[in-house]
Symmetry: C2
C-alpha cells in the first residue's frame, strides 16, 4: 500500500522514488487499468494541456487539413491534446465565436488557421484570455514567421514564366482580404515588372476552381501568354475554361498554380506549381504557441521558403512560335 502522493509521483515521473516502489505502483496501475483523471489534474494544476484550433475548411480543404493534422501531431508529441472548432468563414463574428468556444473549453492556447487580414485583426482584438498564434498571416505583421513565404513563391512563379520568355502575363489572384493572396499578388507583380515583362490582367477569384473558370472570361483579350493562379484549384478551373475555348495549354498558354495539391500532377496538363510545406507550418505553429504558453515568449523565425515544381503546364514562349498552329497564341 502506498499513498496517493506516491502514485502521483510515479505518474509525473518525478525523482526520489525507489525503483521497487515505482515498479510496484506501475504494476498495480496496469492491473487495475488505472487512468489518471485529467479533470482532477486540471483542477489541481490549473493547466488543461489543451490546444485549440480554429479553422475554416470552406472551399479549400487541402492546406488547412494538412496543417491541422500537423498541429495535432506536434501537439500530441508535446503532451497536449487538440480541440478543434471549425467555422463557416473567417468573419470576425464566426471567429470570435470559435475562439470563445475554445476558451470556454479551457484551452491554454489557440492556433488560428486564418489567413485573412481582418481575421488577424479580429483575433488580436479578442484573444485576451489565452495566447494565440495566427497561421499564414501576411508576413509583414507580427506573425512570427508562421507562414510560407508567399511573396517568394509568387516570385518563383514569375521568374519561371519570364525566364521562359513570356512578356505578357496575367494572374488569377485570391480574395483581396486574404493576406496570403495579397502577398502572392505583390510578389508576382514585383518580380514580373522587375524583369521588364508586363502584367496585362488580374482577375480576382475566391480560391475555388469555379472562380478560376470564371476568371478566364475576364482575362480574354489581354493577350497574355502565361497565367499565374494563386492556388491550384483556380488553376484547374482556368485550365478547364481555357480548354473549353479551344486553347491548348501549354502550347498557347502557360499556367502556374500554387500549393501543389496531390492532384496537381494529374491535371491536364500536369500543373507547374509552387509547393508549400504545410506540415512544417503546422509544426511551427505548435512550437511557437507552446513556447509562448510555457516560456512566455515566442521565437521568431523566417517564413518557410516554398519551391517551384515544374510540370507540363508551362512552356517557353518560343515553342509556341516554333509550332504555330494558331495565328495568335495567348488569351
Amino acid at each position: 500500500m502506498v499513498s496517493r502522493q506516491t502514485v502521483s509521483r510515479v505518474i509525473n515521473e518525478q525523482t526520489n522514488i525507489r525503483d521497487t516502489t515505482r515498479e510496484r505502483v506501475l504494476q498495480v496501475m496496469r492491473e487495475l487499468d488505472y487512468r489518471p483523471s485529467r479533470a482532477a489534474r486540471m483542477l489541481a494544476t490549473n493547466r488543461s494541456r489543451l490546444v485549440g484550433v480554429v479553422a475554416t475548411v470552406n472551399g479549400v480543404h487541402y492546406g488547412p487539413t494538412r496543417i491541422i493534422a500537423a498541429i495535432e501531431d506536434a501537439a500530441r508529441a508535446n503532451g497536449y491534446a487538440v480541440i478543434l472548432t471549425t467555422v463557416r468563414n473567417l468573419s470576425p463574428v464566426e471567429l470570435a465565436d470559435g475562439v470563445d468556444h475554445l476558451v470556454r473549453e479551457g484551452v491554454e492556447g489557440i492556433v488560428a488557421v486564418a489567413p485573412q487580414a481582418h481575421a488577424l485583426d479580429a483575433m488580436s482584438a479578442l484573444a485576451q484570455p489565452v495566447p494565440a498564434v495566427i497561421l499564414q498571416a501576411d508576413g509583414s505583421r507580427s506573425d512570427s514567421g508562421l507562414s510560407v513565404d508567399n511573396e517568394l513563391g509568387a516570385a518563383l512563379a514569375a521568374r519561371h514564366l519570364t525566364g521562359l520568355g513570356h512578356r505578357s502575363v496575367a494572374m488569377v489572384s485570391g480574395p483581396s482580404d486574404w493576406s496570403e493572396a495579397v502577398a502572392r499578388t505583390r510578389g508576382f507583380a514585383h518580380t514580373v515588372q522587375a524583369s521588364g515583362a508586363a502584367i496585362v490582367g488580374v482577375a480576382e477569384g475566391d480560391w475555388t476552381a469555379e472562380s478560376g473558370y470564371r476568371a478566364c472570361q475576364q482575362l480574354l483579350g489581354t493577350g497574355a501568354t502565361a497565367v499565374f493562379c494563386a492556388n491550384d484549384q483556380m488553376a484547374l478551373g482556368l485550365l478547364h475554361a481555357v480548354t473549353d475555348r479551344g486553347l491548348r495549354v501549354p502550347v498557347d498558354l502557360s499556367v502556374v498554380g500554387f500549393d501543389d495539391v496531390p492532384e496537381a500532377a494529374h491535371y491536364l496538363p500536369p500543373l507547374t506549381t509552387i509547393r508549400q510545406d504545410f506540415d512544417e507550418l503546422g509544426q511551427r505553429a505548435v512550437a511557437t504557441l507552446l513556447s509562448v504558453v510555457e516560456n512566455g515568449r515566442a521565437t521568431r523565425r523566417p517564413p518557410i521558403p516554398p519551391h517551384l515544381i515544374v510540370r507540363a503546364s508551362t512552356l517557353p514562349l518560343a515553342s509556341a512560335l516554333a509550332a504555330p498552329r494558331d495565328p495568335r497564341p495567348g488569351l
Copy 2:
C-alpha cells in the same frame, strides 16, 4: 451575495431560481467575466462533454475533412467539444494509439472515421471504455447506417454506363481492405452483370490520383469503353493516363468517379460522378453517438443514398461509333 450553489443553478439553467436573483448573478458574472471551470465541473459530474474523433487524412482529404467539420458542428450544437486525433493510417496499432489518446483525455464517446475492414475489427476489439461509432463502414455489419449507400452509388454508376450502351466496362477499385471500396466494387459488378454487360477488367488503386494513373496500364487491351473509378482522384489519374495515350474522353472512353469533390466539375472533361453527402454523414455520426452516450442505445437508420451527377466524361457508346476518328475506341 449568494451561495456558490445558487450560481451553479444559474449556470445550469435550473428552475427554482427567482428571476431577480438570476439576473443579479448573471450581471455579476458578466462584470467579472466569469467562466465556469470545466475541469471542476468534469470532476464533480464525472462527465467531460467531450467527443473524440479519430481520422486519417492521408492521401484522401476531401471526405474526411468534410465529415470532421460536420461532426464538430453537430457536437458543438449539442454542447460537446471535439477533440481530434489524426493517425497516419488505419492500422490496428495506430488506431489503438489514437483511441487510447482520446480515452486518456476523457472523451465520452468516439467517432472513428475509419472505413477499413480491419479498422472496424480493431475498434470493436478495443474501444471498451467508451462507446464508439465507426463511420463509413460496410453497411453489412453493425454500423447503424453510418455510411453512404456505396453499393447503390456504384449501381447508379453502372446503370448510367450500361444505359449509355456500354457493354464492356472496367473498374478502378479502392483498396480491398476498405469496406467502402468492397461495397462499391460489389455494387458495380452486380449491376453491370445484371444488365448483361461484361466487366472486362478491375485494377486496384489506393484512392490517389497516382494510383489511378497507374491503373490505366493494367486496363489497357481490355477493350473497355467505360471505366468506373471508386473515387474522383483516381478518376483524375485515369483521365491523365488515358489522355497521355492519345485517347479522348468521353469519345473513346467514358469515365465515372465517386465522391463529387468540388474540383470534379472542372476536370478535363468535367467528371460524371456519384455525390456523397458527407455533411449528413457527420451529423448522423454525432446523433448516433450521443444517443448511445445519453440514452444507452443507438438509432439504426438506412444508409444515405448518393446521387448520380452527370457531366461530360460519359457519352453513349453510339456517339463514339458515329464519329469514329480512331479505328477502335476503348482501351
